[in-house]
Each structure stands twice: as C-alpha cells, then as structure tokens.
Subunit: 215 residues, 2 copies
Amino acid sequence: MDQNKIPQATAKRLPLYYRFLNNLNHQGKRRVSSKELSEAVKVDSATIRRDFSYFGALGKKGYGYNVEYLLGFFRKTLDQDEVTDVALIGVGNLGTAFLNYNFLKNNNIRIQMGFDADPAKVGTAISDVPIYHIDQLEEKMKGIEVAILTIPAEEADTVTEKLVSLGITGILNFTPARITVPDHIRVHHIDLAVELQALVYFLKHYPLKKGPVEE
Amino acid sequence: MDQNKIPQATAKRLPLYYRFLNNLNHQGKRRVSSKELSEAVKVDSATIRRDFSYFGALGKKGYGYNVEYLLGFFRKTLDQDEVTDVALIGVGNLGTAFLNYNFLKNNNIRIQMGFDADPAKVGTAISDVPIYHIDQLEEKMKGIEVAILTIPAEEADTVTEKLVSLGITGILNFTPARITVPDHIRVHHIDLAVELQALVYFLKHYPLKKGPVEE
DNA sequence: ATATAATTGTGAAATATATCACGACTTCTT
DNA sequence: AAGAAGTCGTGATATATTTCACAATTATAT
Ligand SMILES: NC(=O)c1ccc[n+]([C@@H]2O[C@H](COP(=O)([O-])OP(=O)(O)OC[C@H]3O[C@@H](n4cnc5c(N)ncnc54)[C@H](O)[C@@H]3O)[C@@H](O)[C@H]2O)c1
Ligand SMILES: NC(=O)c1ccc[n+]([C@@H]2O[C@H](COP(=O)([O-])OP(=O)(O)OC[C@H]3O[C@@H](n4cnc5c(N)ncnc54)[C@H](O)[C@@H]3O)[C@@H](O)[C@H]2O)c1
C-alpha cells in the first residue's frame, strides 16, 4: 500500500494541499481546478497536477478535481483518520507556545505530554497537557514515536540518546544542534535563527526586481 | 560585489556553516576539513566543498580550511558586521517566544519592536522590546525592512498589505495563510503544522531501514 | 629527502525537481 | 447537436542540486 515513488518534494506539499482543500470544502466549494489551487497555495499549477498524478488520475479533464473526493483521498493518504500522539521535550518559550496550539483540529496530531528538567514546571499542565520530569521519560512515554525537541542546544545530544533508546522514530528538532541519530531515525530540523538569517541574506543578495543592486 | 550565481540551496546553508565555524573558533580550533565539518553539520563533505568553492578557493589542499579566515569571510558575506532590525507582528504565543530569544548574539539580528491589536499588550515590553498598537505601524516602523508575522491566519492578508505599503521587503510568515505580495517582496513560510504533519507522513511512508513496512 | 597520507577544487555524472506544451477528454454555450 | 472553452495527465525538456572520483597540492613521518 506504500508508494515509495512519491518524491519528497511532493510529500512535503501534501499537508498544504490538504489544508487548503479543507478550507474550500468548508466554503462549500464542490470543484477546484489546478489553476485555482495554484493561486491559493502559490505553487505552479503544473506542479500541482504532477503531484496529484503520482497518486493516480484524481481529476477529470475539462472539469478539475472534486473537492470532497480529493479531500477524502488525502485524508486517507495522510493518515488523518487516526490521531498521532507526540511528546514535547522542553517546556520553555517555544515549547509552551506549541503546547498552547491545537494541532488536533487541522492536523489530527496531539501533544500528549511534555517533559522538562525544571522542578517548577513538573506537575503542572499547559492546555491540559501534563508536564513530567525528564527522568520520567521511560516510565511515561510508552508508545509515542514522535518527539518535538525544544530544549537548550547543549542538552540536545543527551536527551536525543534517551529518546532513541526508548524507541522514538521521528524528531522535530528546534535546537540549533545537529543531533546524531542512528540511520533508522528521522530528524527534521527547524532552525529559526538560520531561517531568519537566510531571509536577510536573500534580501541583500538576491533583490527582487525593484531596487537595483548598487555597488 | 554581488554573486548572483550562488545557488539558493547553498545560500540557505551559509548561516549554518557560520554558526558551526563560530563554535569551532570558540573551542580554539585553528583548522577544519570538509570531512569534519560534514560530521558536525550533517551535510555531505563534497557539498560543503562545492558550496565554499562558489566563493573562490577558500581552503588549502592537503590542509583544509583555516577556521578564523573562513569565519571572517562568512561574517562579511553574511553581513554580520551590521545589525539587522526586524519588527514582529503579533505578540501571542509564538511571538512572545521569539521576543524572549536573543537573535543578536549569534545572528546579529534584533527584533526592535512588536505590534499587536490587543490593547492589553500595547504599551508593555517583552525582553525590553516595546509593543505598539498595530495602528501605529506607519508611525513607528520607519526604516525596518523585515517583519516576522505571527498573527492569526485571518489577519494575514490585511496586515501584509499594510506592511507592503510601508516598504517592507521581506516577511517571515508563520501563519498558515499563503499571503499574496508583489513580486519584489520576498516571503519565507514556516508552517509548523505542515512540518509536523510532513514528518509524520514520512515516518509512515518512508520508513528508514529497521521496521519493514507492513500491510 | 622521500614516501605516505590528507585534503581541496572541480569536471562529469547522477539525481531531483519544476515547467512547458499539447493531445485527449469534459463541460458549457448557443 | 456542434463548436468553443476549460482542464487534466504526461512526455519532453529545463533547471537545480547532489554526489562521485580524481588530479593537484600540501602536510607529515621517517
Ligand atoms: N525561542 C526562540 O524564539 C528560539 C529561536 C531559535 C532557536 N531556539 C531554540 O529552541 C530551543 C528552545 O528555545 P526556548 O527559547 O524555548 O528555550 P527555553 O530556555 O525557554 O526553554 C528550554 C526549556 O528546556 C528545559 N530543559 C533544559 N534542560 C532540559 C533537559 N535536559 N530535559 C528536559 N528539559 C530541559 C528548560 O527547563 C526550559 O524550560 C533552544 O535550543 C533554542 O536555541 C529558540
Ligand atoms: N503557536 C503555535 O505553536 C503555532 C503552530 C502552528 C501555527 N501557528 C500559527 O502562528 C500564528 C500565531 O500563533 P499563536 O499561537 O502565537 O497565536 P496567538 O493567538 O497566541 O497570537 C496571535 C496574536 O496576534 C494578535 N493579533 C490579532 N490580530 C492582529 C492584528 N490585526 N494585528 C496585530 N496583531 C494581531 C493577537 O492579539 C495575538 O496576540 C497563527 O497564525 C497560528 O496559526 C502557531
């Protein structure tokens, strides 16, 4: 049932398509063309058609795509029928922001518990998510396969080792550390400082149209 | 002085290299090879050499790269000698987390002011960053070219229009909305829910080695 | 002084992604 | 019912990025 031939670039766009299809559905739209979708998600319409085509012929020539059908298809494809539980490690500035966000609504993902090393935080709850001590990882984290890492960079390697030994398979890493994991574990990095700095770099070195490059 | 031929993929990695070179320098390391750096940043060593080579011959065969020299070079390349001021729009969960983070230290970027629509937040300061009312944008935001957008998705288009009319050139957009801007404005999207959902998708559909695909 | 080991920079090849452009088919209009 | 308009799916092509692999050069050991 697995389509290992779906390009990663396509896979990364699926959640985006899914969200916009949901929006359209809520607006009562019955059909949508790759052109319309393109304007909404800012992805070239040929790319959208190509993306969809990896899953078969989902549309109808001359008509477009049926919103409800497409939505249902992607819901299954993205496993949106079952809730995915994740753990959050590091209840600081970023971690707290995530705990206050409802990933269930649109993404069917639930942060089920948080862990921190600070005794002042242990035992509390944020948006109904209980916070445990990091030493309770083994005891509490049974069955959870995905972790969000929002701890100081210095702690990243130690905590990652623990997570790996407890059977985690995926980590969303917000620390600037490039953590080391065995081959069978997937890590996605979101490096906010790098993103910001890269944006600034692009602005200065790849100016878009207006404002010609001086000097 | 501009090198418009540097691939975007390379440009995105520059801040990463810069940070690790900084680390090495602090550790007192004098030289580093592409292989060592590769292990630290998890980027193939050939890719690193290729990336560096776009800027000329920065290394020495049989020796590697001089850390201090490379660091100095990238500091200039990344304009790390002057502070870049940015504005943050939307002082909620995420926005507050960013305000509490010091981007100055490693990235020479300063969030100089925040804006919000909530009167309870206006007039306060978070980590010494003053919060103004969104209606004061024009009055206060003079000279700032980059904005971080952390407002509700519904507000994204309206606020973006204002930002654009006030001469912003780059936006780091954390809302799930795909905002529409003129061609000369650069928008980078960081869509946290999409990132999380994409990670989950990859885990289920592209399992790495161990744990063969069932069903 | 010589041999050995390390490491760069890069042409060439491989891989990945995006876009063009059009035949085939559907829907809409009159 | 016929013609016009719209839209998909996709072969071909273009572009972007990564990786291989090796000659050239430098450093190190004996
Ligand atoms: N806040 C931002 O805007 C921002 C921006 C860029 C990068 N980051 C990175 O994200 C990470 C988190 O940032 P933050 O601002 O939320 O930091 P923070 O200091 O506010 O939060 C870190 C939390 O982790 C906890 N912690 C420390 N050691 C731990 C351990 N061993 N196990 C479990 N919990 C532990 C701390 O008690 C604290 O609550 C950092 O690595 C930071 O560099 C944050
Ligand atoms: N918090 C998360 O973990 C998370 C995850 C995924 C996506 N997001 C997205 O990031 C954005 C911010 O999320 P959040 O959790 O910080 O939301 P939030 O509701 O906590 O904060 C939004 C802030 O924007 C302010 N605001 C509303 N309208 C405004 C306007 N017109 N001008 C200026 N300020 C205005 C509000 O007063 C509030 O302080 C949202 O679009 C959300 O979908 C957040």
